[in-house]
Subunit: 330 residues, 2 copies
Amino acid sequence: MSASYDVAAIGNAIVDVIAPADEAFLVDHALTKGAMMLIDEARAHELYGHMSAAIETSGGSAGNTVAGLASLGGRAAYVGKVAADQLGDVFAHDTRQIGVHFETGRLSGGPATGRCLINVTPDGERTMCTFLGASVELTAADVDPDTILGAEIVYLEGYLFDPPEARRAFAKAAGLARASGRTIALSLSDSFVVDRHRAGLLAFIEAEVDLLFANEAEITSLFETTDFEQAARAAQSLTRIAAVTRGEKGSVVITPTIRHTVEAYPVAQLVDTTGAGDQYAAGFMLGLARGKPLDACGRLGGLAAAEVISHYGPRPQVSLAELAAANGLA
Amino acid sequence: MSASYDVAAIGNAIVDVIAPADEAFLVDHALTKGAMMLIDEARAHELYGHMSAAIETSGGSAGNTVAGLASLGGRAAYVGKVAADQLGDVFAHDTRQIGVHFETGRLSGGPATGRCLINVTPDGERTMCTFLGASVELTAADVDPDTILGAEIVYLEGYLFDPPEARRAFAKAAGLARASGRTIALSLSDSFVVDRHRAGLLAFIEAEVDLLFANEAEITSLFETTDFEQAARAAQSLTRIAAVTRGEKGSVVITPTIRHTVEAYPVAQLVDTTGAGDQYAAGFMLGLARGKPLDACGRLGGLAAAEVISHYGPRPQVSLAELAAANGLA
C-alpha cells in the first residue's frame, strides 16, 4: 500500500507562551534550566503572572515536528487534543494551514487548551513549564486507524508517557503500525520524562521502536550512565536506528553495525533553542521517507534545527524545502 | 502637580495575529496593501481560515506605543477594552508585565477580544484587517480621571474615531486633559481612518491637539492633497507640533516657526513594518516628556521605529533604553 503521509505523529497538543527571562528568574521560581516540568493550572497561572510580555505560537513537540515536515515539502498527519477555546482555534489553524492533516475532535467542558510556558534566557536556552490541559484527554479512541495505516513512519512523542490515557493511545498507534509493517519512531522528549518512565520506555523501545530520537541528556538518562560512549553502545543493541543530537557537536546516527557522526550547521546567532530536537526529527524523518542514506538524514535534521534556533519560536520561519535545496540537501 | 505618568494612552485593545503572505494573497482577498481595514467577525473567521500559520502577540496602536515607552524606561498608563477570555488574558498580561498601568474593566458576555489579522508580504509591508470585538465597548466611563490627570501627555489613537462609544471616551479624556493643562497628542493611525472622519479630525485637532503624529499618506489625506509640501505647510498652521514619518526618508518635525528634518536609522533587514509609527510616537513622546529638543525627540522616535521593523511583531524585543544609551540618545 502506498502511503498517504510520510509521517503521522501523535503528541501533546500545546500552545507555547514564550518570553525572555534572566537567570535569576529561573532560580527564583525553582526551575531547572533546559528541562520541561509539568505544572498544574494554579501554578501555570501564578508563573505566567510573573513572566514578561510573551508571544503565543502553536507548539507541542510532535506538532512542531509535523510543521517542520510540511515546511520541507513532506506530507504529515497529526493526532492531538485541544479544547474548543481560542487557543485551541490557534493550534488547529496553525496546524491545518501548513497542510498537515489534523482532525482530532476538540474537547468541550473540560480543561482549557494546554500551554507551555517557555522562559528563554540570554544564552538562548529554553526552560519549559507545561500545563497539559486538554491534551491529557487524548484517548485511544482519538487514534484514527486510517491515519496511522496511511503513514510510512508513525512518530510518537515521549511526553505522552506522562498522561495515562495518552499512553494507551500511544500503545494503540504502535500496535496498528506494527501490524502493518510501518516504521515506528519515538522521541525521548526530556531527560526527566525518561527518569519518570525508564523501565516502561526501555521495554517499549525494545519491543516496538525502529527509530529512536534523543539528545545526550536523554540517552544517558535512559541507560543510567554519565558516559556518552556507554550510552551509544547500549543504544546500538536496543534499536535499529538511534539518532542522538549533541547540540553544537552535531549528531550521531547509530545502527547495530555503523555509526555516522554528523557535524552541526553553523548558526549566526543562537536565539532560542526551543524546537531544535523537534526540527531535527522532522529533517531526519523526511530524509528517511525519501530513501536517503542515514548520514544525509542527519544532515537534513541538523539543517532544520539550525534554522529554528536562530529565531524565537519552535517552528520554521522560512521554507525548509528551499533552505534544503540551497544547501544541496533537496 | 508632578505627573505619575509620562504618557497615558487610550486605544483599541487588540491582539495581533501575524502571518506571512504573498502579494497574490492580498489580491485574492481584495486587501489594500499597507492599510488597515475594519472587518466583522464572520469575515475575520473566513480570512483567518485562509491565512498561513501565525503568531499571536498583543498589539493595538496605542498599546504598542505604551510598550515602547516602558521599554525606554518611561512611565505609562493604558486605557482600552478586552474581553474576559484567553486573548484578553494575553493582552492584560503583556501590558502589565512591562510595567504599564492598565486597570480598564474586562468585558463579559459581549464580543471576544479584538483581533488584528496582519499579513506581512516579503517586502516587510503589513496589511491589516481588524475585527474590533470587545474594544468597541470602551465607553467614557472607562476613562479614569486620575489616570488622565496623572499624565504629562495624553495620547489618543486615531482608530478610536471609528467606534462611536470610544469616540466619546476620547472626547472625555481630551476635555480632562485640556482642563488641567496636559499635552494632548493624537495619532492619525491610518489614511482611511482620516478619509472616513476628515472633518471631525480637523476640528478636533484645531481645538484640542498639541502634538500630531502622522505618516505621509495620512497627512496628505488629511489635507486632501498629493503634495507633501502643501500638507506640511497646512499642518504648520493647524497644530503646535506635527511629527510626520516618511519611511526610509526619516521624519519631519514641524512647528509654526521651525521645521526639523530627521534622517532614518539604517536597518540591516526590513522584516515587518508593523508598529513602526507606534514606536516612533513612543520615542518622540519620551523625549518630549524628558524635555529634549524636538530634533532629538525625532531621532529617538526613529531609533525605536528602526528596532521594531527589524523583526516580526509590533513591540520592541530589546530594551529600548539600552539601545538609546548605546546610540547616545539616553
